[in-house]
């Protein structure tokens, strides 16, 4: 039975990634050469992803070092905050970034107060700024793991040899960074490669358009399916190439177990370094907290007097998040069960399927689904279901990574006992597997729920005009320039995202057997 279920799950994953790609390539208009604006989109996609990943990783080094070697009040809170962008809806962060860094925002007003015309945020620098906001925390967590993985004996030896900061850097830190940074760079590059919502709102025209955005525009503005599909082919190829590079570079593993202990650093006990680290920590905290704080302050009053349509949209988004969690479980559990019992090769296949979902970008999948569904059913009438399904697929790699080790442990430790008791099928899952995997399962469910709650990808492509989800509603409010209502909706969205994440994650911990 598990065999059938896992085959069905894999088939659905293949349908979402490869199936949509085939549909797109059949419709792609390859008769024309790429135009100037197509090349501009390809170039911009590369440039912004390269800049975003380079800046994020470069800044991550001092931040991670400061966090690694200092103990200060709020340290664990800061580490939690570094994980927040994972569940923060992109569009909410954009609202916050505009409110702080926009020319009429917090900083813009300060600059104007001293008589300087504030620079505009729209364009390459705005896009990169938003990407750094999202990915600096991610990169910092990767680098921080590298730092904390340095054995304390080595630091002790360095201290005994009288190493100063420079020697510690040359002999300990540089080799560590050399092994950690490439992986972090590739991951951030991959994330930024399929950037859509940021370029949609902060791009500012043809000179700052990503391929994902160009797909959206070809489809939504001109209904040129052939051109959209051609761009989608390019996006898919890029995703696959970057995915292969990511596969070959040692990827950072795990999501931050054991980041709670600062390392004892004898070389860093100098007042100058102490001050520098303090400044770095303050700066990064402000950079992350100011936009979120602005959303909280500007949205708080508005949140309670939003039009009822916004609350309906919120209810729709909650329903999508729940459906997405259920679908994710239906996909991930059979695969995890199969992987834990089968050969290494099949296990690799299953993980490869997960990786396919990373390479498949939302616009490519969305366009493919539209092409496949249109002859069968009104795509708009199933937009919510499609959103739930695509987000379940997108979360699958994270979910598998979290669940598989726990399932494997349960099988290794209790598998033979269960076998001798004849505990099989559904009962085995219910009595053995689920209680032993509650914690990672809860975490995976939380991530899935938060991701689909805040998703502005596929839904932007064919979301219903009169029954939008909350992120789509928020985007429309910004389009109609109802900024007060938009800030209220943004706060509502971020609170709901945190709520669904917390509920599942907490639920997993409470009922956990381990």
């Amino acid at each position: 039975m598990t065999r059938v279920a896992s085959a069905a799950s894999l088939a659905l994953v293949l349908f979402l990634s490869v199936g949509t790609f085939v549909a797109v390539s059949l419709r792609a208009d390859t008769s024309l050469a790429l135009g100037t604006s197509d090349w501009a989109a390809i170039r911009f996609t590369f440039v912004q992803a390269a800049l975003s990943s380079a800046i994020s990783c470069l800044l991550a080094v001092p931040v991670a070092r400061a966090v690694a070697r200092r103990n200060f009040p709020g340290r664990s809170l800061l580490i939690t905050l570094l994980g927040a962008p994972f569940i923060l809806p992109t569009i909410v962060a954009i609202v916050g970034i505009l409110a702080v860094f926009g020319s009429t925002g917090l900083l813009g007003s300060l600059v104007r107060a001293v008589g300087i015309r504030a620079p505009e945020i729209y364009g390459l620098h705005g896009v990169v700024l938003a990407h750094v906001f999202f990915n600096l925390p991610l990169a910092t967590r990767f680098v921080l793991q590298g730092w904390l993985a340095v054995p304390s004996e080595r630091l002790r030896t360095a201290a005994a040899l009288g190493f100063g900061p420079r020697e510690v850097f040359t002999h300990i830190e540089r080799p560590m960074l050399r092994s950690v940074l490439p992986g972090a760079l590739v991951v951030v590059f991959l994330v930024c490669l399929s950037s859509f919502a940021v370029a949609l709102i902060m791009g500012g025209g043809p000179r700052a358009t990503t391929i994902e955005l160009a797909i959206y525009q070809a489809f939504m503005f001109e209904f040129d399916v052939g051109r959209a599909a051609r761009l989608a082919l390019i996006q898919f190829m890029l995703g696959i190439c970057a995915g292969i590079v990511a596969w070959r570079v040692a990827l950072p593993t795990g999501f931050g177990a054991g980041l709670d202990r600062p390392a004892e650093r004898w070389d860093a006990r100098r007042p100058g370094l102490r001050l520098a680290d303090g400044l770095v920590i303050t700066a990064v905290s402000l950079f992350l907290l100011l936009p979120l704080g602005t959303v909280l302050i500007e949205g708080f009053g508005e949140m309670f007097r939003l039009p009822s349509s916004v609350y309906f949209a919120a209810a729709r988004s909650l329903a999508v998040a729940l459906a997405s969690v259920l679908l994710m479980l239906a996909l991930a559990l059979p695969i995890a069960l199969a992987v834990s019992r089968t050969s290494q090769r099949q296990a690799l296949l299953a993980e490869g399927a997960g990786l396919l979902m990373i390479a498949a970008s939302p616009m490519v999948v969305g366009l493919g689904l539209y092409i496949i569904l249109f002859p069968l059913v009104d795509p708009i009438s199933v937009a919510l279901a499609v959103t739930a399904l695509v987000n379940a697929g997108t979360s699958l790699p994270f979910a598998l990574r979290a669940i598989i080790p726990a399932v494997r442990d349960a099988e290794v430790n209790f598998g033979s006992l269960a076998d001798s008791l004849g505990l099989n099928g559904a009962a085995r899952v219910r009595l053995l597997i689920l209680p032993r995997t509650m914690r990672p399962l809860g975490f995976a469910m939380g991530i899935t729920a938060a991701l689909s709650m805040g998703d502005l990808g596929v839904i932007a492509l064919f979301g219903s005009t009169d029954a939008p989800t909350l992120p789509l509603m928020l985007y429309r409010l910004m389009g109609a320039y109802r900024m007060e209502q938009a800030s209220g909706a943004a706060l509502l969205l971020v609170l709901l995202s945190i709520l669904v994440f917390w509920t599942f994650d907490r639920g997993g911990r409470i009922n956990s057997a381990s």
Binding site: G204, A385, T465
Partner: protein, 329 residues
């Protein structure tokens, strides 16, 4: 797959309000039409009084995106009427085959002859760059002067917005072969390109730019609704491009009689009387109440520019390619 998705949507989707016995007329339109200060609320109230139906406006982006939306939804669309296309889009919209003739024979008060079998006009106006005289003391007097200046402007995307498309055709009509170089010079004045008019105008009012692409009639809104006389439209020496906004019935409509009733209502005195002070445009048929006196203070273009709808369709692709190229750099 189909069954699975349908079942899933049913379980996710929310059932339409129970007991919706009244027939529903669905009108797809642009964002600003349904804004609280726009024509939407008053039109809805007035039409529902006479039709015994439920008129529902659905905002689907700006005018040009409306066309893509009905193409995207195809024959399954819920829309009975699409309201907010303009004369620059009618040829392309007609080619989709999704619209159906209106059988009306009205006398219009338009500056151009109108006998299109598919599209019913409801208002018209001239595109213009609007500025705030307290922030910009000396506005540019032509597109070239604007391009040479360091004035920051917000414009709309010609692929999604009818003003954006209007500007594209304005530059092309006035400058022909030189259009591309005008755009290359204008590129550094453009703060951002928004998908729709509402966002661009909001950004201008919030101070993100000194000028915004809008209409010669936009200052009337500030004079009448806000008593603010500081917002002006800059008169350009080369003339101003015109827009005739239109509506049409969808062939797939399940409410053809109601749709006809709506088009009739749209050409009537009540609707036309609302246009000047809600959509802030010139009415397609002069209402009995005439125009507000403030309209007399508006900029009168020295020259009205307009392509025929067929020419607009063919010029558009060339002009769009030039625009994309200039602004991609």
């Amino acid at each position: 797959m189909k069954l699975f998705l349908s079942a899933l949507s049913l379980s996710i989707g929310f059932a339409a309000a129970a007991g919706a016995q009244q027939s529903v007329l669905t009108v797809y339109t642009y964002d600003s039409f349904v804004a609280e200060w726009g024509p939407g609320p008053a039109v809805e109230a007035a039409f529902e009084e006479t039709c015994g139906c439920d008129l529902q406006f659905v905002a689907a982006g700006d005018g040009a995106a409306l066309l893509a939306r009905i193409q995207l939804e195809g024959k399954r669309t819920d829309a009975d009427i699409v309201l907010g296309l303009d004369s620059n889009l009618t040829a392309r919209a007609a080619a989709t085959g999704l619209l159906t003739p209106h059988n009306r024979h009205d006398e219009w008060d338009l500056p151009v002859r109108w006998d299109d079998p598919l599209f019913v006009p409801y208002d018209w106006g001239f595109f213009a760059f609007v500025y705030d005289e307290t922030r910009t003391a000396e506005p540019p007097g032509s597109m070239e002067a604007l391009a040479r200046s360091d004035i920051r402007v917000v414009i709309q995307d010609p692929r999604s917005s009818t003003p954006g498309l209007g500007l594209l055709l304005w530059v092309k009509h006035a400058y022909g072969e030189r259009a591309k170089s005008i755009w290359q010079e204008l590129a550094d004045n453009v703060v951002t390109v928004t998908p729709g008019w509402s966002e661009a105008y909001g950004m201008f009012l919030d101070g993100h730019a000194e000028m915004v692409l809008s209409y010669t009639t936009s200052p009337a809104y500030h004079m009448i609704a806000e008593g603010d006389r500081t917002k002006r439209a800059a008169a350009f020496a080369e003339g101003h491009y015109m827009q005739v906004e239109v509506a049409a019935r969808l062939a797939a409509s399940d409410q053809p009689e109601l749709a006809d009733m709506f088009l009739e209502f749209m050409a009537g005195d009540v609707f036309q009387g609302l246009i000047p002070t809600t959509n802030w445009m010139y009415p397609a048929k002069m209402p009995a109440s005439g125009l507000p006196v403030e309209f007399g203070e508006l900029v009168q273009p020295s020259k009205a520019l307009l392509y025929s709808s067929d020419d607009a369709a063919s010029v558009r692709d060339v002009a769009l390619a030039e625009w994309l190229e200039a602004l991609s750099q």
